[in-house]
Amino acid sequence: MNKMDYAVEMRGITKNFGTLTANDKIDLFVKRGSVHAIIGENGAGKSTLMNILSCVHLPDMGEISIGGKKVTLRNSLDAVKHGIGMVHQEFMLYPELSVYDNIIYGFEERKLGVFIDKKACVNKINQIMTSYNLSVPLDSLIKDLPVSILQQVEILKVLYRGANIIIMDEPTSVLTPQGIQGLFNAIRFLVNAGKTIIFISHKLKEVLEIADTISVLKDGKLVKTLPAAQTNEYELASLMVGRDVILKANKRELKAGEILLKVENLRVKDKDKVERVKDISFEVRAGEIVGIAGVAGSGQQQLVEAIFGLRAPEAGSKITFDQKDVTKLGPREHRMMGMGYVPQDRIGSGINSKGSVWETAIMGYHIAHGFKSKILLNFKQIETFTNKIVKTFDVKRQKNSDSIRSLSGGNIQKLVVGREFLQDNRFLVIEDPTRGIDVGAIEFIWDKIIDIASNGVGILLISHELNEVMQLSDRILAMYNGQIFEAGNYGELTEEEIGLLMLGGHADEAF
């Protein structure tokens, strides 16, 4: 092995967070000028490893060599100096500053040593934009721009800082299939220009398409590194989880009842007064699972907020639940009418992280179901309900009065899902129910969703995981740019066809 071929060599990297071993003696060798993918399930240690390379964390043990020379990285600046740049999964941007400010932040060209040399900065950015075929509006504020532009800003950022090794952490999670191709083209361009790309993902198809080499991580350990050309989805999947896992749900025959939710001419503006939901109509029946597929930022958030009463829709919109007009009603009324909601933002909206397990468990239940008394809390009823959730959904906790922070992420999610499912609701709005959950728990929750639907509960499922929508939904709707498009019934369309709709490919079929 000619050492000079490797842009990055990581040996024996170990990192612990408290009792959790995130990386366990991992070796990684990345050839210069290649696309090297790191794959693994949630929690396998991929992000941690790359955070160590980009020096967000310091390793407990191990060494790193860049371009054949051993280096000690002490902080992010060191990483930048060695040409390492990272495009994070959560964008590291400043919402109230302009694109220009965001790109130059921390690496400003200076005039007289103390002032920002705007001309020099702008020149540098323009040069990069032409060299790499990227284009973004420099003076716009970050908060006003869509996600796809923001990703380009992130890439520009690392190029501006002179990165030769570019790490991308799950970059496609916010893109449509077509957007993904655009990203892949950009990656190929960068590689041709001599850059090295490290690509973190858990999406096997993409990885097989774009990567030259693939390293599989599982439970903090490196399982195997192999050339992409010599493997396939099934081998990778089994390396990742140790069993053949292409997740499938046990779908049952649809028995749809009467219309529960009817949305007509819905228009919703977000808090910055930008219209995000543009005149859509659809309905969901009892016992039916309607899935909305779409890339994040297509208006799903505002759609759900309007349906559940967290945001008032524009005039002319009408939302009917069980033949009653609920357009202007709030979450309280919705819950009392039998609608439940599993929010996407688990920690922010789903739980009270400062409270105990039971405090989170009864939120909403205390309104929809109530207690014997109108004024006093009934602790017996609280215990009963909380225990019911714990038992039915296998939530691992010690006592109901424990702080909810003592639960793991997966158990918290199960608690939240259980809370909404066990209130005898007639309708559920479910967002990303299995995001960040391990495979075993995913199947568990999917089974519960199908189960509850077969008991006559109407379900509106919004997920950013296309496979999830395709596996669970009786009817699929694709959402793009505030509009929805019919995407067939269960099993009718392929992933590519739905993906195309997620980009508004068949605009004339919008309704």
Partner: protein
């Protein structure tokens, strides 16, 4: 890796959830530092700390009168502490307690002086009116927050000054006009209240009035509210995670308004009780420090209503004692005020966090050296 897991097991005892240990440590250290610093400050004024402590105890427990004095101060401390904890627990930064107390006291003082009612009724009217005055005064920052999203910490702070000036004006300029009618010369205070409005004492011959049991009652009521009622549960959730409560269907606007009003009500009652129980007239500016004292007490008590009672008692002991120490030993009473607030600072330190960080560093070092 197994060895490191063992290490963590040993130290798990001190991590995160051992609140009892942490609290004991926190208060213990703070008390020790309080005593040390206090001794220093007292010595710098030419007095030895032992005699100062002796005089302090004489001034608080030495006689029936002294103890009565302590109870007299405990009452407003409990009430302002309760008002503060109600607000801050829900995330409402009511820094305007002082202003609400002033207005409550003013209204009570005026009604006490100018109305003619049978005793029990008179007292009730004064106290309730004072509470309502404080409550209404809290409506202003509440509306500004709820309708215009203006952070209440500025508005309530500014309203303190407005309340001070307003009551001064009303007392000095408006009421003094009643000079001919009442023959009253003192311009810094409203006329003395009628005998029928005076709050009866509970320990005869002392200044301890019904204020103390009333304050206890209110504190217990608040504690009950938060621990046992649905409304209290919702208020706690709103204070700890607003979005969670909103999504859960809690009427957050109503909750916020309730908090503001409740906090203002309790503060107003505090003012009313002080005026008709202790001063027997409204003295301009009598509420200096009441607001920040209440907030500090609430903080030390970690926003728990029952703990507020205990902390208020200690606070009152210090306050009453400091006056005696000043009288006898000429140690400036501000010394105690300083110490009280420095105590607040010591208690505010996150000892658990420091300890955890120290432990983390030690463990990382051991791993790097012990294992390879």
């Amino acid at each position: 890796m197994k060895r490191s897991k063992q290490l963590f097991k040993l130290n798990d005892k001190f991590k995160l959830n051992d609140r009892v240990y942490i609290s004991l440590f926190k208060y213990g250290v703070s008390i020790v530092l309080f005593i040390l610093l206090g001794s220093l400050l007292i010595m710098s004024q030419g007095v030895d700390p032992i005699s100062a402590t002796r005089v302090l105890f004489e001034g608080t427990f030495g006689s029936k009168r002294a103890f009565g004095n302590v109870l007299r101060w405990t009452a407003p401390c409990i009430l302002t502490g309760a008002a503060a904890s109600v607000a801050f627990k829900a995330g409402v930064m009511n820094l305007g307690i002082e202003g609400q107390v002033l207005l409550g006291g003013f209204v009570a003082g005026v009604l006490g002086a100018f109305l003619e009612l049978p005793p029990a009724l008179h007292i009730l009217v004064c106290v309730i009116a004072g509470g309502i005055a404080g409550m209404l005064y809290a409506v202003i920052p509440a509306v500004l927050r709820l309708f215009f999203n203006i952070n209440e910490f500025i508005t309530t702070m500014m309203l303190n000054y407005v309340a001070n000036f307003l009551t001064q004006y009303l007392t000095q300029q408006v009421l003094a006009g009643g000079l001919e009618v009442w023959g009253y010369v003192n311009m810094q205070a409203t006329p003395t209240i009628q005998k029928s409005a005076v709050l009866p004492t509970i320990i005869p011959g002392t200044s301890a009035t019904l204020a103390f049991p009333v304050a206890l009652l209110i504190a217990f009521a608040i504690a009950f509210l938060y621990k046992r009622t649905i409304q209290g549960y919702e208020l706690k959730q709103v204070g700890e995670n607003l979005r969670f409560s909103k999504t859960g269907g809690v009427r957050v606007v109503r909750s916020f308004m309730t908090i503001f009003l409740l906090s203002g009500l309790i503060a107003g009652i505090a003012g009313g009780i002080e005026v008709i129980g202790t001063y027997k007239k409204f003295n301009t500016g009598f509420a200096a420090f009441y607001g920040y004292d209440g907030i500090s007490i609430a903080r030390i008590a970690e926003l728990d209503s029952i703990a507020v009672i205990i902390v208020s008692f200690i606070w009152a002991v210090l306050k009453a004692g400091s006056m005696q120490v000043e009288r006898v030993l000429q140690v400036n009473r501000l010394t105690v005020t300083i110490l009280q607030y420095i105590f607040v600072l010591f208690v505010a330190i996150d000892y658990a966090g420091i300890y955890n960080r120290y432990q983390d560093r030690k463990i990382k070092k051991r791993i790097r050296e012990g294992e390879l």
